[in-house]
């Protein structure tokens, strides 16, 4: 038991996402289900989100038509499953600026947002490059940056440079530059003693990114980085090592929010909308939302 409760909340999913996107080198290995989720941290008088998903009004039909994204539900709907509403959220940590993580800031009118300054400055740079280099600004909606301008004018956007401890008591931010994106970050929740959790954003998509088979090189497991990256897989592996160090190399404490099999490691339930609520840990006195 500790200071914070953590839930991973599914808000949509893709039934068939190509495996090579989530696991480097998994070419021609078919598809996996990719849940779209955000994490919720509650405790110490705070309600914090790790990422905010995307806004179906802007993208829903296109995503549905083109990529098979299904069953999007609003934050009002999704957060109600843990007895909260978006208005209760006071803090949001944006792990990176991809549309499915940073695309719904308007739904959280009272929250202060944290993002790495480099995530913005390097996207600016990428957007300024010639057309032949446009691969480098993949999956970013300029509209999210525009909404970031509005947040900044309201003094609700905080840009940080690198690691920052105790953004909330016991909650730290850590940067993984030039990895999945230019300024990705992860969130570490220190719940007291050895009870530490890492919310990895897209630095880890699935369990195999941390515990991949090492049979080919005669070790039990090894880190296999995420496939999709504008930075380097080397930096993803280095970030994974740092995350693992923070949790004493206990792999289950690094939480990949796109991992369908979280249900195999943590208690969970499916809501009436067909989306999963996974309970990572409970603070002292907090009641379970999955049992």
């Amino acid at each position: 038991m500790g200071q914070y409760s953590i839930w991973v909340l599914e808000y949509s999913y893709v039934k068939n996402y190509h495996k090579s996107g989530v696991l480097y080198g998994a070419h021609n290995e078919g598809y996996v289900k990719l849940p779209y989720c955000y994490a919720l941290i509650k405790g110490n008088g705070h309600v914090a989100m790790v990422d905010v998903g995307y806004n179906n009004k802007d993208y829903g039909k296109h995503l549905g038509d083109k990529f098979g994204v299904e069953n999007w539900r609003s934050p009002e709907n999704v957060l109600s499953e843990v007895g909260l509403s978006p208005k209760d959220v006071d803090t949001v940590f944006i792990t990176h600026a991809h549309f499915d993580h940073f695309g719904n800031v308007e739904s959280f009118p009272d929250a202060t947002f944290y993002i790495q300054e480099r995530e913005i400055s390097k996207w600016v740079w990428a957007m300024s490059l010639p057309d032949r280099m446009r691969w480098m600004n993949v999956a970013v909606d300029p509209g999210d940056i525009v909404r970031g301008v509005d947040l900044a004018r309201q003094k609700r956007l905080v840009t940080i440079d690198g690691a920052k401890e105790d953004v909330l008591p016991g909650v730290d931010l850590h940067a993984a530059f030039d990895s999945h994106t230019y300024g990705s970050m992860w969130v570490t929740v220190r719940n007291g003693g050895a009870d530490t959790w890492v919310l990895a954003g897209d630095l880890v998509y699935v369990f195999e990114n941390i515990e991949g088979s090492g049979a080919a090189v005669d070790v039990e497991t090894l880190y296999v980085p995420v496939g999709l990256a504008v930075g380097s897989q080397t930096n993803l592996v280095l970030a994974t090592e740092e995350m693992m160090k923070q949790v004493g190399y206990e792999a289950k404490r690094v939480i990949p929010i796109h991992e369908e099999r979280l249900k195999d490691r943590f208690p969970s339930r499916i809501t009436k909308e067909g989306l999963r609520v996974t309970e990572i840990c409970l603070a002292d006195g907090e009641k379970s939302r999955v049992s």
Binding site: G21, D65, K66, V124, S128, A139, D141, I145
Partner: protein
């Protein structure tokens, strides 16, 4: 939905060829693919005009999209980071240069009847970005600069709103560049027939 000659041509124009591919102008009217899909003589002039419009408007749309991200990011750095030094970065003259380049392309677009409103959204978005750049320049020159940045924030919101209105996924005009986000998914979508509906609502 049945694939018709005009939308088949459009699909080739916007999904197979780049907008500046030499094959695009050559394929108007009588190329083999057009005759495969139907008789060339039955091809209405207007559908060719629409396809030509889409081919020339898409890079302008994309340029505006990226320019919005570019200058909005600079605004975030100024506002959230409190960094006035951003106003001295070479990114701003570079943005102005791209804006001028887009202006030339915008004026070169032939607008078929029925698509004036779409073109108007692109033109307004482009003009609003120009105003943002003007505000940046004014902020750089003046000691009291915050109100220029505030106004730039309002204009960039307008620019994005116009961009959204001009978005047409079937013409490759989407706020998010998904082309490489999910490579096999995009290919799968194409293999499954893509979207062969009409390209633009012409106001019918």
């Amino acid at each position: 939905m049945t694939r018709t000659p005009d939308n088949a041509f459009f699909a080739r124009a916007v999904t197979i060829h780049r907008y500046d591919c030499e094959a695009v102008p050559a394929s108007h009217g009588t190329d083999a693919a057009t005759t495969r899909d139907g008789p060339a003589e039955g091809l209405p002039d207007r559908s060719e005009a629409v396809a030509a419009y889409a081919v020339s408007a898409r890079p302008v749309y994309d340029g505006i999209r990226r320019l919005i991200g570019h200058v909005a990011g600079l605004l975030v750095l100024v506002e959230a980071g409190g960094r006035r030094d951003v106003l001295d970065l070479p990114d701003l003259p570079a943005a102005r240069e791209r804006w001028r380049e887009l202006e030339g392309r915008l004026h070169a677009i032939g607008v078929p009847h029925g698509l004036e409103a779409h073109f108007g959204q692109l033109a307004t978005a482009h003009a609003a970005i120009g105003e943002v750049l003007d505000e940046f320049a004014a902020a750089r020159r003046q000691r009291q600069w915050q109100h220029h940045i505030d106004r730039a924030g309002e204009r960039i919101t307008l620019a994005y709103s116009c961009l959204q209105s001009a978005s047409e996924p079937r013409a490759g005009m989407t706020p998010v560049d998904f082309n490489h986000a999910c490579c096999s998914c995009a290919q799968r979508w194409l293999q499954e027939g893509g979207n062969n509906g009409s390209v633009f609502n012409m106001g019918a």
